[in-house]
Symmetry: C2
Subunit: 338 residues, 2 copies
Amino acid sequence: MTQPSLRCALMGKNRLSGPVVGVDCGGTNIAIGVVDEKGRLLGRCKRKTKAMEGRDKVIERIIEGISRACDDAKISFKSVTAVGVGAPSAVDWKNGVVLHAGNLGWKRVPLRDILSKKLDRPVVVDNDVNVATFGESRVGAGKGRGDLISVWVGTGIGGGLVLNGQLWRGPLHTAGEIGHVIMFPGAGPGHRKLEEHCSRTAMVRSMMLLLGHYPDTMLREFLKRSDDGEETSIGSGVIAECMEKGDPLVTSVVHASADLLGLAIANFLTVLSVPTVILGGGVTEALGKPWLHRVKESVEQHVFPSSLRKCEVLRSELGDDAGLLGAAMLAREVVGSE
Amino acid sequence: MTQPSLRCALMGKNRLSGPVVGVDCGGTNIAIGVVDEKGRLLGRCKRKTKAMEGRDKVIERIIEGISRACDDAKISFKSVTAVGVGAPSAVDWKNGVVLHAGNLGWKRVPLRDILSKKLDRPVVVDNDVNVATFGESRVGAGKGRGDLISVWVGTGIGGGLVLNGQLWRGPLHTAGEIGHVIMFPGAGPGHRKLEEHCSRTAMVRSMMLLLGHYPDTMLREFLKRSDDGEETSIGSGVIAECMEKGDPLVTSVVHASADLLGLAIANFLTVLSVPTVILGGGVTEALGKPWLHRVKESVEQHVFPSSLRKCEVLRSELGDDAGLLGAAMLAREVVGSE
C-alpha cells in the first residue's frame, strides 16, 4: 500500500529532465548550484546576502548568482528546467510565500511568483531546513529511506521530517521545530527549550558559566587568543579541539548536551515510530563520530518501544551543500509531478 | 496539492457500500457494532474478552458477537461487506498481524487472515487507539479535519495521529505513544514519562502520597467507603466529584497533571505543526470542560510558533464507541480503496 509518490521517489523517477538550479538563501550567504538528473552538482556560485540592502537587491543577487552558477557549470540558463529555493523562514510552500524571515527582514514575500516571472521558469520555495532534509533523503545519508527526521545543531537547533517519502511541513508550515520543544517544565525563561541547552550558543554559555570551576581548562587559551575575550570566539572548531584533547569542562558540557539531545530525539521517534535520524549542522560536522555515538546511546536508552532501539543515527553526508542540492531536488520532483 | 486519498476521505467518498462491522477488542471487553454508510450505528453487542481462555475462544466470541450485533441491527451477516478490528497491541496493519498484545497474551497473531477465512469477508486490523482516533476523525470531534492528534487519558495514556487525512502508524507501527514520552530527564524510574505523571493511575498515586498533608480531603471518605481501603477504589468518577466540590488535594494533583499534559501535547504539536488535538479516555470523560480548558491553556502557553496558539483542544465525541465506529470506518475505507 505504498503511495505512488513514495514509490516514484525511492525509485528516483523524476519526470522532469534537464539541469535544475538550487538556491540556499541564508541570512549571511546565498549558495547556488546547478544540479543534474542524478543529483550531481555541475557548477556553483556563492554571494553575500546583504539583506540590509532590501528585498529587491537580494532577489537581483539570486538571479545574477544563478547566471554565474550556469557559467560555472558550462551550461546556458535556457536548458534549466526548474529552480528551487530554501529560505530561512516558515514558508507557505504551496503558494511559494516566505512568511516571516527574521534574518532577511521579510514578511509575506511571494518569492515563487516574483522569481518565476523574472526567470520564466517554474520555481519552488520551501524552508531552508526542509530543503536540506530533503537533500539528505534523496542523495545523502537518508537515501532509499521513506521515513526519517533530521536535526541540525549549530547556532540554533532546527529539524525536518520526511514521512512516506515526502516532506511533512504541517498545515501551519512549521513542522520539525525540535529546538523549541520544552525539555524542562518549570525551568526559568531561557532554560526550558532544547535549543537553550544543546545549541552551540547554549553550550558556550554553559562553559562560560562554569569557567571559574575549571582553572585549567584549555578554553582560557582560546579566550586569551581572541581580541576581545568574548565567548563568540568559541566556535564549533574550538569545542572539537578541546574535546579531542579531553578538556574536562568542555567534555562535561558536550556530553550533557548530547545526552539531552538524544532524549529529545528519542521522544520525537517515539511519537512518530520512525527509526532514522540524520544529524547535521556545524556542531555535528566539527565533533563527528564521538558526538554521534553519544547521541545514539541516549536515543537508544530513551526511545519506546524497544523495537525502536534498533534505530539509525546518521551523520549528514551533504554538509553545507545539503540546502542547495535539496532545493534543486525538490524543484525537480515537485515540478515533475505537477 | 491535496492527495486524492485526503480529498476522498474528507468528502466522505467511500466506494464500499453496504453495512460494515467494527470490533473493539480490549483486554476486558469486546464491543461490536454494525455501521452504515453514513457512520451510524445500526446495532451492537458486548462480550467479555476472557483472554485467559485462549486465543481461539476469544476469536470464537468475536465471531459469535458479530452475529448477535447483526441480529440487533436486524440485518443478515450476508449483507456485511467488511470487518474492522481494533486490538490492544502494536499491529502490523498492512499484514493484519497483532504483534504483541500483553492484555490478551497474544504474540504475532495473524488475526486478519484468521478472521477473514472464518467470516469470508475482507478484514482490516489495527491498533485500538488508532481506530478510535480514526473514528473521531471521520464521524467525531475531528470530522472534516485532515490533520490531528488524539490523546486518551485513562488507566494509561495513549495517542494517535491523522496526517493528510490518513492514520500515521510509522514504519514500526507504534506512532502516537505520547504516554511514553520522557518529561523529566534524570528523574527516577517510574517518574520520567508522561504516563507516569498524568494517567489516572499516576494521579491517584500522587494523591495517596500526599494524603497525610491534607487531613480534610474528601478522598478519605471514598477510601473508607471501599471494602479494602485500596487506592483502586479511586476512579475517574470519584476524582470528578472531588473536583466539583473543590477538594484542595485532588484539585492540585489534577491541575498539575493537566498542565504537564498540555505541555507534552504542545511539544507534539510543535514538531508536527498540527493545530488540532482531540482528548478522550475515562479521565477526560469524567472531568469534562474544566479539564479541557486547563489542558488547552497549557498547550497555548507552550506551543511554538505563536501561530499554533490558535489550536483546537476538542473533546472526543464518540466516547466508548470511538473504537468500534473507527474500526468499521477504517475497514470501509481501506477495503473500498483496494
